[in-house]
């Protein structure tokens, strides 16, 4: 009898535990949910915003020139480091390393550049405010390309195709003694690279197809596209996990800076992040209001009204969550190796080493974290390749 009772109790506990720890099943989407889904949908992204600070932003010749420069190792101290050393197309323009490895070790993790044309701020700390001013910074970073602007100009001048293209786009190459002209030419080289980078855009993922099916009310398509776990993961993502507080809009980023308590590597001084980045961008000669911007109206609202202050200590730019596949490790110094560990980090929301962690512990179950991870994988889409063909008619074609 006693043994029977014991078996019964054990069976009861086991049944209770399996019920408690069961993966949740999806709830039907409400109208409010559908509005949120629509706001995250790639169909809501809109065309790439114009960049008036870059006169050749949409020039096909500049795109072609920029693409060549992007892959050209001659733009470095040892002749073998190009932008693509760290921004590798096969890894969605990241490198799979904690910190970029070029001439030396870069200060931070290599972010993807897909969709960066939409961001008012570049780099993890937003220390540049345009793609072109970003593109030239690593060239002179001693740990990255470790070259300098005059040497870059010499490379362009020494290559007949480059110099011809440059002169067609921007006029004569400068006299090295003329500092302002050298700076202008250096910014022009950045503008050509940016013209190419503007075309690196996300493509629709399974998530976008699913949202389209939800908007259309196509239940059969929804069932074909998403598993129950992926649906629950998405419901958590837009619901109690609060992810869309920062990962919002069609690129799943608000392009803003947040301290989320990501700790430093042991022995490494905590990175101050945006609080220093904002100072740098405001004083950088290549910023939107500087002499090398092509925008005569100096329409620089983001720069002009950028905020500073203690809230930005240890804050870093929210990365897009599109195409996370192949982009590990994560965070500004690659501190977190896997996506599941990132989710555990937000589930615990540890105290920040400097500044203040804006997030609060999510207290989700392991099964819920797994469901969110399943959802995040649905944001991947075919790789955007980097072959753009400027045809005779000047049309750009993008191959996938």
């Amino acid at each position: 009898m006693k043994r029977f009772l014991l078996v019964l109790v054990i069976a009861g506990v086991a049944a209770g535990a399996s019920w408690y720890f069961r993966p949740l099943l999806p709830e039907p989407w409400t109208d409010a949910d559908i509005e949120i889904l629509r706001s995250l949908w790639i169909g809501n992204l809109g065309p790439v915003p114009p960049d008036p600070s870059n006169a050749v932003a949409d020039n096909p010749l500049a795109v072609e020139f920029g693409q060549r420069l992007f892959f050209d190792g001659r733009l470095s101290a040892n002749g073998s480091i190009s932008c693509s050393t760290c921004h590798q197309p096969v890894r969605r323009f990241t490198d799979g390393l904690q910190k970029g490895q070029a001439i030396g070790t870069s200060g931070r993790n290599t972010p993807s550049i897909i969709g960066s044309a939409y961001s008012p701020w570049l780099f993890w700390d937003g220390r540049r405010d345009s793609q072109w001013s970003q593109a030239i910074a690593p060239l002179e970073d001693v740990n990255e390309h470790a070259t300098d602007r005059r040497q870059v100009i010499r490379v362009v001048a020494g290559d007949p195709t480059y110099s011809e293209t440059y002169e067609q786009l921007f006029g004569e190459l400068p006299d090295e003694a003329d500092e302002a002209a050298v700076n202008a030419a250096f910014s022009n080289i950045g503008k050509a690279i940016a013209a190419f980078e503007r075309l690196l855009l996300p493509t629709p993922s399974r998530f976008d197809d699913y949202v389209a099916a939800v908007i259309a009310g196509d239940v059969a398509a929804q069932q074909n596209l998403y598993t129950d776990d992926e649906i629950v993961g998405l419901q958590l993502f837009i619901g109690k996990a609060n992810c869309t507080q920062c990962h919002n809009g069609p690129l799943l980023t608000n392009h803003e800076f947040h301290n989320t308590g990501v700790i430093s590597f042991p022995g490494e001084v905590p990175d101050k992040g945006r609080v220093l980045g904002v100072r740098e961008v405001q004083s950088n000669a290549f910023n939107c209001s500087g002499p090398y911007s092509d925008d005569r109206d100096r329409n620089c609202a983001e720069l002009e009204y950028a905020r500073t202050g203690p809230e930005l200590i240890g804050a870093f730019r929210t990365p897009s969550l599109r195409n996370l596949e192949n982009t590990a490790p994560f965070m500004h110094k690659g501190q977190i190796a896997t996506l599941s560990a990132v989710l555990r980090h937000y589930n615990e929301a540890p105290l920040a080493m400097i500044g203040h962690n804006e997030t609060k512990p999510l207290k989700l179950r392991d099964s819920e974290l797994r469901q969110m991870e399943a959802f995040l994988h649905t944001l991947s889409a075919p790789i955007v390749t980097v072959e753009y063909v400027a045809s005779d008619r000047g049309e750009k074609q993008q191959r996938q």
């Binding site: 507080q245 919002n248 803003e256 800076f257 983001e302 009204y305 905020r307 804006e358």
Partner: protein, 130 residues
Amino acid sequence: MKAKFVFVTFFCMLLQQVVAADDVWVSKRGLFTLSYASALQPIEINRIHQWVLHIESESGELVTGANIEVTGGMPAHDHGLPTRPRVTTELEDGNYRLDGMRFHMAGNWELTITIVANGKTDTVIVALHL
């Protein structure tokens, strides 16, 4: 028939008042009233844009020459605005152009607008939900 018309007209006027009143914010000490119009309609997150603030005194007179400071944030998330907006131009008729407005999250926002005019200082709290 005439009575009905008068009633409908009166009702419409009342309704207009109610709708308008929703958009008028009274300062803490009651010294000023403030209304705003966003150049971005409806207000979307992650887009920088301008507002026009309209300020009247307690007695309904247009307030000119005011010094206005705008701060704000999300009380539930313990953080401020992503930008530092500023009144850049005084327009006519008690209107002021507010530049650099941007919100980076959906949810409840609170703006604290401090108005200094005619030797008086008062603060308006504007709540908005995005």
